[in-house]
């Protein structure tokens, strides 16, 4: 095989493969579609090599000891000198001429032996274990196990149902001592609280005395635990994983735009987990983002449209809202929580009625340098790119307040934003007509003249733009409540009512308009947007002083830092 630049050739099960030097054999075999079973190896953590599940046979082209000449077989091919014992694949880095065998009898036998040892003290309680169905120990036990136990002695007893922290429960008997969780805490979360005590088969995972696993990334240890030792206290015993349908989504918590996958069964969401995106969040996500699904069924959810606090249909509420917006003196409060499509529709409305001002409410929080950025709105950049606003938003709606006081603004159309929380006084809110499109009760929703009940991020599809100007899409996980209406549909209908022309009311059809020539979104359509997102050209906004600091895969622009 021809050597490409910077690539070296290794041989896996007789097949030549070109890989970058230093690539480990678990990854290299995966390129050929071969799975080397592994527990402790994780692509985003350092290599520990302690589970021994990934054993393979290893060989290098031989050299004659006396002459140093390469040894050749009779047919002229290089002679491979196989090592007598197996070696771990995860700890073997690609070197020129390296040969491995992943499915030779010796490799298979080694794995079977490792599996038998791992199961010696395992409690075999899959029926009550939450990991069942997505457990690598379960999978490899059926592919490499012997199906019965030769161990008749008493099994080790270790602590069960241990609270490791507010969100994580540990069952030590199930732990295979892979140390992934320990490495995650040390290397990614930067909060070293886990470690092993005791030795040999008595080794036990535990928290350091006086510490607990409480950092905002603790649930990632549950995701990477290959067995059911670490379980999420929230998800524990709620639903077996094989019933869950998974839908790709985005964490709306901050502008990082962590990729997630949301699991639901029959219209109920059970959990949110991270989805791998090497450009954004690797395989991690903050714990706080996993709680967001609870908003879907929260008690203060708006499930009914109202006009003057009287229940009405969504159709009537939209018609009434359109009527109010025609009156002039309208200001629009958009939101960084809206999708790009909604912001685009809102922009069309504001242009059409000649709004007296369009505002967003900024939310800033503490930056943790990993996956929580300062900007707690997922889509402020979307509002900029859709042209809804021309500058970074303020945290307070002071300017709008002044316009209300001066009588310039008589109607406020707020999408998802509580005006009181945004800094207006109840007095100011009382002076104007309020149209509110939102999902949860707040002061604005209770004061609204027209209230349109909308959908949460889990009930609709759309796109958001993260801090890197990466356009990412999220999809509908569950249907919305009966009385609510999709936000984009409501906005599009209002715009159609106002302009007298039709306006696309679905995400797919609206993208035909958004992705037209000349816009930054040119050539993009919702269907063709990949699950890894697409980086847009954000150079037009470079001069803005975004407040975000560094995060996992984001470097702030230098000028912005200088302003800080």
């Amino acid at each position: 095989m021809e050597e490409k630049e910077n690539l070296i050739t290794v041989n896996i099960d007789g097949q030549d493969l070109q890989v970058p030097p230093g690539m480990n054999m678990v990854e290299a075999a995966a390129i050929l579609g071969k799975e080397i079973p592994h527990y402790c190896y994780h692509p985003k953590l350092t290599i520990a090599g302690n589970c021994r599940m990934c054993l393979v046979e290893l060989g290098m082209p031989g050299r004659d000891r006396a002459t140093g000449e390469p040894m050749v077989n009779k047919d002229g091919t290089p002679k491979i000198m196989w090592m007598p014992g197996p070696a771990i694949g995860c700890g073997t880095k690609a070197a020129p001429g390296l040969h491995i065998k992943t499915d030779s009898p010796k490799a298979l036998e080694s794995r079977e032996a490792v599996t038998e040892f791992l199961l010696i003290n395992h409690p075999l309680d899959c029926p009550i274990c939450d990991q069942a169905g997505e457990c690598t120990l379960q999978e490899f036990s059926s592919s490499h196990g012997r199906g019965y136990s030769r161990f008749i002695e008493q099994k080790n007893v270790k602590p069960k149902r241990t609270r490791l922290g507010p969100r994580v429960t540990l069952d030590d008997e199930r732990c295979v001592l892979c140390s992934r969780c320990i490495r995650f805490c040390d290397e990614v979360a930067g909060d070293s609280v886990l470690g092993f005590t005791d030795r040999g088969s008595y080794s036990t995972l535990t928290c350091f005395p006086g510490k607990e696993l409480a950092n905002n990334y603790s649930l990632n240890t549950v995701d990477i635990c290959p067995v059911g030792a670490l379980t999420s206290t929230d998800f524990r015993f709620k639903m077996r994983v094989w019933f869950l349908k998974e839908t790709n989504s985005i964490d709306f918590e901050t502008s990082v735009g962590v990729n997630t996958v949301v699991s639901a069964r029959e219209g109920t969401i059970y959990r949110v987990k991270p989805r791998r995106n090497d450009q954004v969040n690797d395989t991690w996500m903050p714990d706080s983002g996993r709680e967001l699904y609870k908003q879907v069924e929260s008690d203060d959810r708006l499930i009914q449209c109202t006009i003057d606090s009287l229940a009405t249909s969504a159709v009537d509420a939209i018609a009434k809202a359109s009527e109010c917006l025609q009156g002039g003196g309208v200001a629009i409060v958009g939101s960084g929580q809206c999708s790009v499509e909604e912001q685009f529709a809102l922009k069309a409305i504001s242009d059409g009625i000649g709004a007296k001002g369009v505002y967003l409410v900024a939310r800033y929080g503490k930056d943790d340098g990993i996956l929580m950025s300062v900007d707690r709105n997922p889509n402020v950049r979307g509002a900029l790119m859709a042209g809804l606003v021309n500058d970074l938003p303020d945290e307070q709606l002071g300017e709008l307040g002044a316009k209300i006081d001066s009588g310039e603004v008589t109607t406020v159309f707020s999408v998802k934003e509580d005006l009181i929380a945004g800094g207006l006084t109840e007095d100011q809110v009382g002076k104007v007509k309020i149209i509110y499109l939102g999902t949860h009760e707040n002061t604005t929703s209770s004061l609204a003249d027209v209230l349109i009940a909308g959908l949460t991020q889990f009930e609709k599809s759309g796109t958001v733009i993260n801090q890197q100007f990466r356009l990412q899409k999220f999809s509908r996980v569950v249907p919305g409540p009966g009385g609510a209406i999709e936000d984009l549909y409501a906005l599009a209908t209002i715009q159609a009512n106002l302009s007298g022309e039709s306006f696309p009311s679905t995400v797919g059809s609206l993208w035909k308009q958004i992705g037209t020539e000349g816009s930054v979104f040119e050539g993009i359509s919702f269907q063709s947007l990949s699950d890894q997102g697409e980086l847009l050209d954000g150079s037009a906004f470079e001069h803005f002083s975004f407040r975000e600091g560094k995060s996992l895969h984001f470097e702030p622009k230098k000028e912005a830092l200088a302003i800080e």
């Binding site: 899959c126 029926p127 069942a132 008493q154 007893v157 069960k160 008595y202 015993f237 639903m239 019933f243």
Partner: protein, 178 residues
Amino acid sequence: MPIVIKRRPLNFLEKLYLPEIARGLSTTFKKIWEKPVTLEYPEQRPTIPEGYRGVPTLVKDPEGREKCVSCQLCEFVCPPKAIRIKPGEIPENSEYAHVEKGPQEFEIDMLRCIYCGMCQEVCPEEAIWLQNQFSLSGYSREELVNNKEDLYELGGTLPDEHFKWRKKKEAAEHGSGH
């Protein structure tokens, strides 16, 4: 090809009609004095053979512990999706805290159940059994959905060969010798 059944032509005696009537009546009278082969259902009930697949029920072990651990395998395997389970955690102060998991709710919709016995076959805890109850009626759909209480009432207690959870508890009390 239609199947043609050849009929034997009646012989002379049969053609006479009356002798055959007498033969028939004699059979009838003979049987009147014999032990009947039918049952006066529903007052009389048949004995159900072992392995009969009647209404699925939940059972307890001889200690009175509910055997089901709400693993939801039966819910998964049930072809007509007749089973609905809400799993739950056994509280830490319970006698059976070491089992950790048990059903909060368990429903079998008998209008859906096809008595296939898959649930019994898949259950890793031997907790669900199709027993000898075969006749089922009700005035509403709801009545024919057996909830957890009904299921335990129908199921009763079955002998246990393993007592695996009791052994587990004993092992835990005994400790690891370390």
